[in-house]
């Protein structure tokens, strides 16, 4: 009996969470606060959330607080800077007549627990040119690197993953 | 330069039509032929859209005030192409399902080797 109530409670949480995300995205898409848009947005978000909310939070989505939003925005800024930096780095390596590349596969460790956090980390690493996530196994990420600076696991984790992970760890605390 | 700006879209469209027809006529692999049909379709669509274009025109959507109706591109070819794209995907899907069935029967996609009936 008690367990059932617990399930229901988490269902409701799932539902509200998904509904909220969907509605915010709707508002971003329409960029309008006309009452018709809002009614339709609520309606659609409600229907979609009703059908799809099951186990949505199992992905490991974080609670939303002001601090986490700030960290998330910071994370996006860092990601952007890293992408630009890495672009120049790769361009340099490609255009350099000697082609200074040393490709190889390294393993890095992550302390993130949630699936969604690991996915975001993996995608950020893939997004920065020069590194490419091949697979995730438990807490290890398999990464293809265009210029392997260190084959040590800890060292590689520091170079590749740390800059993103420190923000994500706060967001997904 | 003027030649380019006048004809570049037509060149692209008819280039695609040409290549598509060439693939259909010359290639023997069924999937390739279907790819050719797709390219041919894209070429025809590009041509239709290019026909409706007006120099320095805007899209035919009154999304904000102050758009000049005289300077909008022709909406009709766009409507036609919308239809044509959907028809194209319908034909491709049907053709590919036939290709799968053909492969199950013959174990090959080479049209020269499929001679149950005379070509």
């Amino acid at each position: 009996m008690k367990e059932k109530a617990h399930v229901k409670n988490s269902d409701l949480k799932n539902f509200i969470y998904l509904f909220f995300i969907l509605f915010v995205i709707w508002l971003v898409l329409t960029t309008s606060f006309h009452w018709q848009e809002i009614i339709v947005g609520i309606f659609i978000s409600f229907i979609l959330a009703l059908y799809l909310h099951k186990n949505y939070l199992e992905l490991g989505l974080p609670k939303i607080t002001v601090k986490k939003i700030i960290y998330f925005i910071m994370y996006i800024i860092v990601l952007f800077i890293e992408v630009v930096k890495a672009n120049f780095d790769v361009a340099y390596r490609v255009l350099h007549p000697k082609l200074p590349i040393k490709p190889g596969i390294v393993i890095i460790k992550t302390k993130l627990k949630q699936d969604i956090a690991k996915t975001i980390l993996a995608n950020s690493i893939t997004l920065t040119p020069g590194t490419f996530t091949l697979d995730i196994e438990e807490d290890e990420l398999l990464i293809h690197w265009i210029y392997v600076r260190s084959e040590e696991e800890i060292e590689a984790t520091k170079i590749i993953g740390e800059k993103f992970e420190k923000y994500l760890r706060v967001v997904f605390a | 330069m003027e030649f380019l700006s006048n004809y570049i879209y037509y060149i692209g469209a008819f280039g695609l039509i040409f290549i598509g027809l060439f693939i259909i006529l010359v290639k023997h692999n069924l999937i390739k032929v279907i790819i050719g049909i797709g390219i041919l379709d894209t070429g025809v669509n590009l041509f239709l859209i290019a026909v409706g274009y007006i120099s320095k025109g805007t899209a035919p959507i009154f999304s904000k005030a102050g758009l000049d109706a005289n300077n909008m591109v022709d909406p009709v070819p766009q409507a036609l192409v919308l239809t044509s794209i959907v028809i194209g995907v319908a034909i491709l899907a049907l053709a590919l399902s036939l290709a799968i069935r053909l492969y199950k029967h013959y174990g090959t996609l080479d049209l020269r080797k499929i001679k149950e009936q005379r070509w």
Binding site: I21 | V51, P75, Q78, L82
Partner: protein
């Protein structure tokens, strides 16, 4: 030999087209029908996207045919693949964590985006076909990411049929009560550039969105499952 003959044939076709193109200068204003639509489209149909007003109102009958063609392709594909055996349990290795999580996280968002596209068809670029395709791609993602999940075929078929019938019934209502013309825009046009405007256009576009989405999903489903 065959190549040379084909090339000669194509060359003749191209020559003909080049002749013809001299009468179709690029970028010149020339079409009277299109101009009429741009000038009168907003008053007559209430849609700000003139392409939508052409697709669903002036040339709505074409669109009915187009929807039929997609339906036809889905049915025909089903008929062609029908006698192939269904795979029992698919013995595919599970997708990697990245794909799986991404799919589960993004699926509702993509559906929302598709819905946004086809609901706003009369205001912004996009519409039923584009939105339906986006929804179908969401289901494709499910097939790639969450491979143990299956699409409910019965629900898919019912959606498809009902959406098609909505289109026809809207047209028939126009024929009987509002205006004596098939597919006439009998509903109030509303205020221009708001969501609830342009009469039957949004309703039909929503129906098309559902129909295209379910048909393309059905096509992908049929192709993936049967072999």
């Amino acid at each position: 030999m065959k190549k040379i003959i084909s090339l000669i044939l194509l060359f003749i076709i191209c020559l003909g087209i080049v002749f013809c193109l001299q009468d179709i200068p690029f970028g010149a204003a020339k079409t009277k029908v299109g101009h009429y639509y741009i000038d009168n489209g907003r008053e007559e149909t209430g849609a700000t996207n003139i392409v939508t007003s052409v697709v669903l109102n002036y040339r709505g009958f074409d669109t009915l045919g187009e929807v039929t063609i997609l339906f036809l392709a889905a049915i025909g594909l089903g008929a062609v693949l029908a006698t192939l055996k269904k795979k029992g349990k698919r013995q595919i290795e599970p997708a990697s964590l990245i794909l799986k999580t991404g799919c589960r996280f993004l699926f509702p968002l993509i559906l929302l985006f598709g819905a946004y596209i086809f609901i706003h068809g009369h205001l912004t670029p996009g519409g039923g076909f584009q939105g339906g395709a986006i929804i179908a791609s969401a289901f494709l993602l499910v097939y790639l990411g969450c491979r143990e999940r299956k699409i409910n075929e019965v629900a898919n078929k019912i959606t498809e049929s009902i959406a098609g019938l909505v289109f026809i019934v809207m047209g028939l209502i126009g024929l009987t009560v509002g205006g004596h013309y098939f597919l006439s825009n009998f509903m109030p046009k509303g205020e221009i550039n708001t969501l609830f405007s342009s009469g039957i256009i949004p309703i039909i576009y929503i129906a098309i969105g559902f129909k295209v989405g379910s048909e393309l999903t059905g096509i992908i489903d049929n192709l993936m499952e049967k072999s």
